[in-house]
Amino acid sequence: MCRIGAIKSQHYIHLSATLKLMRSQQKGYDNSGFAIVAQDLGGIFEKYKNFPILSLAGNNKAVEITEKYTQSLGFSKVFQYKMEVNNNEKLNIEPLENYIFIAYEYPKNYENSTKEQKENLLLDTRLKLRELLSENDDGYVYSFYENVISLKEIGSPVDIGKYFNLFGDKVDIKAKILTVQCRQNTNYDIVRYAAHPFFLSGYTTLTNGENTFYEKNKLALKPLYKGYIGFESDSQCFLYTLHYAHKILKWPIEYYKHILTPLSWDEMQAREDKEVLTRIRMSMANFEINGPNATIGVLPDGTMINVMDSKKLRPVVVAKDKDIAIITSEITGVNELLPNRDINKDIYTNERETIVIDNNLNIKRIKQ
């Protein structure tokens, strides 16, 4: 099973917090992978908040292809950080040659473009790069967006942490939102793109469990938007459905739960908004999931959410202290980071609610 976690902090915290969060949950995963998406960046990236950052992993040719292609579009590099790796120890990891984060300036002709247009450019660029790098399996681009970096690798999470020198202060990368997952998705092939957190245009999700309506979801989502690609993991469907409902349909976040796990027909009939709910259920029948899942999501404005499958729950706990809120699979992880919190305020998300944590760390429990 995967173990997932998300940290939302009022101040910048170091990437190592993700390892601290996940290490005590180690019995729950199989050491097959580790992935982080960091948003609202601090440390060395604090100065580059308004620049899109490309997260690239691959061989030297991948770096070459990326530079050539981004240059051809008019992107100019303003900052680049290459992860220093630890080759000294014998570690359980399948490393690539380079792990690079490159901050770019938008092409000149995009100076007066809208946010939408810029997002579109970033997405198109990432998709094209993914295609170019996949041709000979040279590398991977996980995200290309402002204020976001992604790091994923196959292997033992602790060893991956050691490999990237994430224990200690050597790497000065911090963020206010960190999402992390341990274990690759082993229902299908172990490939890097199958590792959540998944990121698309400001939206992030990570999901514990198995989406038994994967095929239906995939067939319905694929044609809806150019960014809905890959589907190496059944959990990608959660990201795309979130993006579709919130970004494209522009529906309030509460309706995400109604799409994923609609109320039963009988329950709907007792509701004042039955007409709306019935329409959603019928029109979005192919977006429904049928568990078992626990999903954590991050919206472009930094809001963090958590929803569960409605019948076969996967473990999840929501907790916070004054400065930090955490959503993760197991309480042990929370205890590591927030040992002094009031445990009576911990929340075990139920099957009919959406947890919403805003930027002031206020937690709202919205009943479906």
Partner: protein, 547 residues
């Protein structure tokens, strides 16, 4: 000795009566019960010659007598259909019908009468294992996704009838963080994924039809199973039209428009809307052919309901005046929608055909969004009356056709927008739940069943030539007859109870399939749950092959 070799003989009949006079107690029940008059009481001359020894050597004694016997009638009209009623009533097991494996009767019948062979039932070419039986539910949840408990878990077994809009076309606006409906949208309703298919009053006896209606009302109102029945062409009784039970009925309009005068006249008195309108273009058992109700079944009650004189009722093979899909959508669908003020889903029923995908695609692209369901009927579907040549030699299997239609919709991103209800042989092996589940996984929103309901009610017909005499009006179990003596054989309450019981049992079995794949709502289009042990079937349906 001269005799006529050109008359039909017993060994040319499809069923041969085997009678043992030594067991017969001459009660006459078999002759009385035979609705086809295929057996009669006759007298046979028996002569017994005995040699008796005496003082002169021996003498010959001759005992000659006439004894009453049961004899098979040998002609083209009263031939035995093998229904087995005689065996059923015989107290001593003295009589039974045996299937004659020679297939000469059809030839003799045509040669003698210059008529095509007509009958009811399904096609009789059922010699291979069905496609659905070669498919198994192979994706069982283990460990990563725990199976559900079929007995304790709650399941939401609902599908929908009515046009579904794509999410971006929903007429919503956001108001204070809530979605509000701005204006009209096509009607759609939530129903059980099984519809009792269109069998008309006329084709069925009123008692049989009533038993189905009672079962449907009971299932809805007492058991909470929102199953619907389709009236078939031929209208429905006036009292039912004006009752609150109309909401469980899908009214059918077919090419003969039988019964529609009465329906239209009752519109203003209806307390409830019907569950839907089904425009029948064709049916799987006799594609390209219209309905057929022989005069012998068109009795006074039926004449009144349908508003017709006593005559053979032959519905035309097509709706007169409809020459294209676009025209059909504009004229017929729109007028039906208008008649019920856009509150009732209007669906279409077609026979499965090589052209079904094109028809479905056209309807999917209909910009008015008024086609609320696509009913496809495969060649294993049954009928009350058809020319045998249609039954046996025309049509298209349903499974691949359903799959083609679904995948074609997927290609356009329109899956589910016009719900597909597939039929034709559903429950043919006796297990409705298994067939339904597999059809749902292949992309159906629901299934339609007909013959199965009749078999539950006591129909003795099968796919190996037994009975199938629905067209004659002589149904031995009172299901497809208007003969008052025969209809009395059918006990309405028992039949209604049996139908309800069967559906309840199927509901339990459906849950027993949903549970192991870990789903609490219907797995429509979830073909990854299926495997086939036949490579050709797997490849054709795009599901996993397993061996």
């Amino acid at each position: 000795m001269k005799f006529n070799v050109n008359t039909i003989s017993q060994d040319a009949l499809p069923w041969i009566i085997e009678y043992d006079s030594s067991k017969c107690m001459l009660c006459g029940k078999c002759c009385a019960v035979c609705s086809f008059q295929a057996i009669k009481v006759d007298v046979q001359k028996r002569k017994k010659i005995q040699a008796i020894s005496n003082e002169n050597g021996f003498s010959i004694d001759s005992d000659q007598k006439a004894i009453p016997v049961i004899k098979q009638v040998i002609d083209e009209k009263h031939f035995c259909r093998g229904c087995g009623m005689c065996t059923k009533v015989c107290p001593n097991g003295a009589i039974k019908a045996r299937r004659n494996k020679t297939e000469i009767f059809g030839t003799r019948y045509r040669a003698k009468t210059a008529q095509s062979v007509k009958r009811g039932g399904r096609n009789n070419l059922h010699c291979e294992k069905r496609t659905l039986d070669k498919i198994k539910v192979g994706r069982i949840s283990q460990m990563t996704d725990p199976s559900l408990d079929a007995l304790r878990h709650t399941f939401d077994i609902r599908t929908n009838l009515g046009r579904i809009l794509s999410p971006d076309k929903l007429n919503f606006s956001v108001c204070e963080n809530e979605l509000k409906i701005n204006g009209n949208m096509p009607v759609n309703t939530s129903i059980y994924p099984v519809i009792i298919s269109d069998m008309s009053i006329g084709a069925l006896s009123p008692r049989m039809w009533e038993a189905i209606a009672i079962a449907v009302a009971y299932l809805n109102e007492v058991k909470g199973i929102p199953i619907r029945m389709c009236t078939g062409e031929g209208g429905i009784p006036d009292r039912l039209l004006k009752s609150r039970y109309l909401k469980y009925m899908i009214l059918q309009i077919a090419s003969g428009h039988f019964g529609w005068n009465r329906i239209v006249n009752a519109l203003e008195y209806m307390k409830e809307d019907p569950a839907g309108i089904l425009i029948k273009i064709g049916q799987g058992a006799k594609p390209g052919d219209g309905g057929l109700l022989m005069a012998q079944k068109n009795v006074r009650l039926i004449q009144e309901i349908r508003g017709v004189p006593h005559a053979d009722l032959l519905s035309p093979p097509n709706h007169q005046g409809l020459y294209s899909i676009e025209e059909s959508v504009q004229k017929m669908f729109l007028s039906m929608n208008c008649a019920f003020k856009f509150r009732v889903p209007v669906a279409i029923k077609v026979a499965a055909s090589s052209t079904s995908v094109s028809v479905y695609n056209n309807l999917l692209r209909d910009p008015y969004n008024i086609v609320g369901g696509f009913f496809i009927d495969g060649m294993e579907g049954a009928t009350g009356a058809a020319h045998e040549i249609s039954l046996n030699h025309t049509g298209h299997p349903i499974v691949s056709k359903l799959r083609d239609c679904y995948l074609s919709a997927v290609k356009q991103g329109r899956q589910g927008q016009i719900p597909i209800f597939a039929g034709g042989g559903i429950g043919m092996n006796g297990n409705l739940a298994a067939d339904t589940f597999k059809m749902l996984c292949l992309g159906a929103n629901g299934v339609i069943i007909g013959k199965l309901i009749l078999q539950i009610a006591g129909c003795v017909g099968n796919d190996y030539g037994k009975c199938n005499a629905c067209n004659t009006g002589c149904c031995p179990v009172g299901i497809t007859t208007q003969n008052p003596k025969l209809t009395q054989r059918l006990d309405i309450d028992t039949v209604a109870q049996n139908i309800a019981n069967y559906i309840i049992a199927s509901d339990i079995e459906l849950k027993k399939l949903l549970a192991p794949v870990g789903n609490s709502s219907l797995p429509i289009g979830r073909s990854d749950a299926l495997i086939s042990v036949d490579k050709n079937v797997a490849d054709r349906l795009n599901i996993q092959y397993a061996c």
